[in-house]
Structure formats: C-alpha cells, structure tokens
Symmetry: C2
Subunit: 177 residues, 2 copies
C-alpha cells in the first residue's frame, strides 16, 4: 500500500497543505511513513493530476505560496473503495529477531546486554505511543463510532509494544531455565 490513501484520508477531514500533512505524518505512529518532503509533495502533485484532490493557492509575502489541497468527489470515491478493499495483514519487519537468530555465538553476558538494550528501546517506544495517545490533538474529533475506532487504533500500538515486552520477559525466563 502506498502513502496516497493515507493522504486522501487526512484530506477527507479537512483541506490541508503539504506542510500540514508532513507534520501529521511525523507526529503519528500509525501513519508509519517518515513524512519526508519528497514523497508527500510528489504524491500531492500526482493526486492533483488524477483529479482526486483540488488545489487552492494562497499567496504570501516573503514565504512560498500556500497550496491548500482538498479532496474531490472522485477522491472521496477512491478513498471509500480502498477502505472497502481486501484487508492486508500487517507487515512486520523485525530485525531484532534476525539478530537473535544468530546470537548463539555471543557470551551469556553479551546476550543479556543485547536483551537489555532492546528492552530499553521498547520501553521508550511504548512511552512515546502513550504520550501521543494522550495528546492526540493533531486530529479532530468526530462521531462516537469514529472515536471508538481511533482509540482502538492507538490501543493496537500500545498492545504491540506491551506484548513485545512480555515476550521478552518470557525469553529471559526461558534462557535462564
């Protein structure tokens, strides 16, 4: 899946500039792209070319013009079709498991050290996601059902890191047994 549907989704709420979108990406965990300029600005141009978004240009003094993008009817339809399309299972890229796979060459101390460092990383991520959920002001509130959906999405990430910590604790137990 490419970034374009995520952008269409954001625009389905409100008109935004590329800069706004970029910030929303980097503030959000579940919109998992880095939010780099290259991709966002190019995608917006493409969406505009395909008629899925419209563009209003606001001139500014001493700053580049603001280009405010809005979703079109066609864009809304494409978004809806995508939302109804075949759900994909999450893709997990887990380099740490690959490190572990060949970690038998390490001493017990080195291995323990590795596990400790991984645990720290996880705890940091978990904290970050929790904070994000608290703030969450970057996105507007909507219907009751939408609020449920959104809080369940945050919950998904929190559980992911929590479960990973549980798994890690079990790994320690298993190793020392």
């Amino acid at each position: 899946m490419s970034i374009q549907y995520a952008i269409l989704g954001l625009l389905s709420w409100q008109p935004l500039t590329g800069y706004d979108i970029k910030k929303m990406f980097s503030d959000s965990t579940f919109l998992y792209w880095s939010g780099n300029n290259n991709q966002i600005y190019r995608t917006l141009v493409q969406l505009h070319k395909s008629g899925l978004v419209s563009r209003e240009i606001q001139e500014q003094e001493n700053l580049p013009d603001r280009k405010i993008y809005s979703i079109t009817d066609k864009g809304s339809k494409v978004l809806r079709d995508w939302v109804l399309s075949e759900p994909q299972v999450p893709q997990l890229r887990h380099p740490f498991l690959i490190q572990l796979a060949w970690a038998d060459q390490l001493t017990d101390n080195e291995l323990e050290n590795l596990l400790n460092r991984y645990q720290e990383e996880l705890e940091m991520q978990l904290l970050m996601v929790k904070e994000q959920t608290e703030r969450k002001k970057s996105f507007p509130d909507r219907s009751a059902r939408e609020n449920k959906l959104w809080s369940t999405i945050s919950e998904n990430w929190i559980r992911f890191y929590s479960n990973e910590l549980i798994w890690l604790a079990d790994l320690r137990k298993n190793l020392s047994a």
Copy 2:
C-alpha cells in the same frame, strides 16, 4: 537493515547457493523479504566483492554452474559486530489500521464485513506460521541455547497474530457496546 546480514547469518551455518538462500527466504516468515532473485544474487556478488564470503564454482552438465558461497572469517566478524549492534524496534506496517481510521463512512454491515475479512486473513497467517514452526526442517538444529532462541522467535510471530485476533475481538465488543 538490509538483507545482507540475514544472508551472512544463513551462510554462518553452512555453505549455500543463491538458489538455496532464495528458498529459505520464501519458506520463512521471519526472514521477511520476498526472496526474489534480483536482490539475492546481487547481494551475494557484493558480499563476495567485499570479501565477506568466498565462492566455489561447481560445474554441471546442462545446468548453470552451481556457485556455492561460504562465509569468510571477515564475514563472520562483520556478522558478529552486527549481532551486537544497537537493536532496532520492529517496524510495523499496518495498512488495515489506516483503513479502519477512515472506516466511519461505512455502514455497520460494511464495517462488519471488513472486520470479518481481516479476521480470516489473520487466521490464515496464524495457521501458516504454526505449520512453519512444526516443519522447521529447513534449518539445522544446533545447541540447546540456539534451539531456545529459535523457538522463541517462532513464538514471537505466533503471538503477534494471536494478539491481533484478540485485539480484533475487543474491537468488536467495543463497537457493539
């Protein structure tokens, strides 16, 4: 992280051809690359150029020569350094959450249908990972500690999909409440 350390890891067990490696990738969940030719054969050439692997060529009649790659001392060192390097938190690409994020426009029926299809996908994946763990003959057994590490790695994937199913059930409860 790129595919090269995974390949070095496989070669740290035994000499292999590109074709062998390709099969191991496509048989394995946690080596999460597609195992396509282009990447594997090119990476092997690069590893060879950098002196991290050596290559023995076995001629065959009527078939392309087998190129059997083995890890070198230098390669073993590089692998070890990588295993000891800073663990990275897993990268989760979860397009379904993005679908859900904009799913408020759907009717209750459409949403339920979407959740059902996602559940089916998850159950299929879970089955596949479990079967893989049962078979698991593609990789040789080693020390007791290594066996622990490997079974914990499989366990990580099984839990991931199981937890996702639990989360999905909770989402249903939450929506109907």
